[in-house]
Symmetry: C2
Subunit: 355 residues, 2 copies
Amino acid sequence: MLYDIRQMDGGVNSKQEVSLREVAKLADVSIATASLALRNKAGSLATKEKVLRAAKQLGYVASSAARTLKSGRSSVIGIYIFSNPDGRNYADESAFFYQFIKSVADTARINNHGVLIEDIPWDVKADENNLLKHIRGGYVDGVILIPQFDYPYYFLDEIERTGIAYCICNPADTTKNLFSISFDNTAAARLAVTELLSRPVKHLAIVHGPVNHVEAKMRAAGAADITADLKDDISISIHYGDFTIESGYEIGNRIFATENHPDAVYAANDYMAVGIMRSAIEHSLRIPTDVRIVGTDDNEVCRAVTPQLTTVRNPIYKMGVLAVESIFTQLSLESEATGKNEKTIKAELIIRGSC
Amino acid sequence: MLYDIRQMDGGVNSKQEVSLREVAKLADVSIATASLALRNKAGSLATKEKVLRAAKQLGYVASSAARTLKSGRSSVIGIYIFSNPDGRNYADESAFFYQFIKSVADTARINNHGVLIEDIPWDVKADENNLLKHIRGGYVDGVILIPQFDYPYYFLDEIERTGIAYCICNPADTTKNLFSISFDNTAAARLAVTELLSRPVKHLAIVHGPVNHVEAKMRAAGAADITADLKDDISISIHYGDFTIESGYEIGNRIFATENHPDAVYAANDYMAVGIMRSAIEHSLRIPTDVRIVGTDDNEVCRAVTPQLTTVRNPIYKMGVLAVESIFTQLSLESEATGKNEKTIKAELIIRGSC
DNA sequence: TCCATTAATTTAAACGTTTCAATTAGATTA
DNA sequence: TAATCTAATTGAAACGTTTAAATTAATGGA
């Protein structure tokens, strides 16, 4: 059922119930004085009190539209999650995104900002999605972008041109000079693989995520950093999943069916790791005795499985906080004065029973 | 690090780059004509084309603030998730919320509406949180409310008074006449318990969620419906968790330590269920041979564990879609003409290996 | 007491749309 | 062709704020 809202003429056109005019009248001051007083910008103490009382009595709330129109600030920050163009939305499953959204919303709210959220498939054309529309239309004061996949940033030039505050979370290209926050995915993978190799390993399986997924790529690079130096008596196999539990399970079924099955598995995310665990258990392999497994992210599934999954924590809540702070820093500075700023979030190994 | 955005004077006050005025000038028509043409409200074909071309050439996007101010419609729908006042945010973990948000955002976008998201702890006073502010300030055209817990609806009178479109997801009190969508939690629990009882059971454990959680309550009632009719040769024990994996695990440790441990467990959500499973496995109990377990929700953790968890599916994506549709129906009708409307979403048993 | 400052207040002009009412152009009929 | 009707276009007034500039009031020093 689709509604064409543009043709909805019947509905309630809710005019502001109580405007600044009424507050001013009740407080017996001019509209300007009322405006100033309410925002604590000027006025004598007595007037401020008088106006505040009047506003409270009438239940006055400033019209966001009028304020935005005049001030040029919407007090809204947009989160734009770019999703997979192939239509498979691994992210649908991800508890992570809610944590991220919540951290952004919490941090924004402290500063009296709202949060707008938008999912944009990568294959939707620039002029058909809402990112640039929102920016040009003044919907948002700042944008937090989560590209996820490694496609060309069609939006970057326009964003830089308009000078809007932005922060890219886990950008694909860190050589560009951007406002960005990145989880140190490379270090995360290095930590995980190093942990696996801290005990004797005969066959190490590396399970990558989607090939064009930015974080998966960097985790792959991190794993490669370590395995490159490995002696010949450790055999290594590389596998590609798509970040889902099911893909992990299928890979598990392939690798555990062989005679010389892996005794150590690094998975680029926790979903695949638990899928692999399920397969291992079904193949009557004991974890961690027969096979040791390390995942990535510290998603809640880590604590669901038996034994619990050792993993590298990706502190997603912190990323949201930092992203919003970056936006506010940009907003509070003269546009000219800002230097680009790239932050990195450290990876932390969380040891549990699977390893 | 906190920023007082109210004192940020240095920042960019981004005026609209290209306004309707410029478009009208380029197309050589009046502003009114341009406005009408762009919204396809009137005008000859030739004029429409001319205006559209001009708009495209200039990269024109209507100012959301100006449009909202004049039209009284913001084209934004707000999601307000009420969270636990005790500070324990079970929801932080929930992959469910992201699915819900995404479904709302997807459905809203089809109708050119944005989605604002806000978390409101139940103990924050009415005039200190953003719900009523957003409504009175015209931020949103409609609100989707997720109360989660059973506290008095301080907002309801005001919402009804302003006549804003709203939809309450899983309201506590279904006797009130509301716009609402509910998952049939009672039926869900009945389905689950009935499934457990379809084979011989000696000791049935029922694990409830937080006592004041709306859905937990109804699931408890559903379970009670079935157990009330049970013969005396089945012993029943009741336990209270808080919807987290850890609370399930602790309950598991208690119930599986006893001699006459349960051979069937119903858990009011999947997180607790997998926690219970972990405990069972650690107590060397085989699932489903020694103990059969059924959860609720069909969260992703169901597919993470071994064996996979049998559960009752809570189609959260559908709930988001229905909520938005309810909002749009209200928006498209004369305010007077609307009859309240309560929809229920059916529960569906998903049989997997744990039962 | 008067003048110079400074603080408080107000007037009025925006901000960029939408829409009513009025005007003009175009089509149709007698 | 004139008269009538309809469609297209436009001028101008809002919507509810913010803010620069102007005005008025209050304060202090000589």
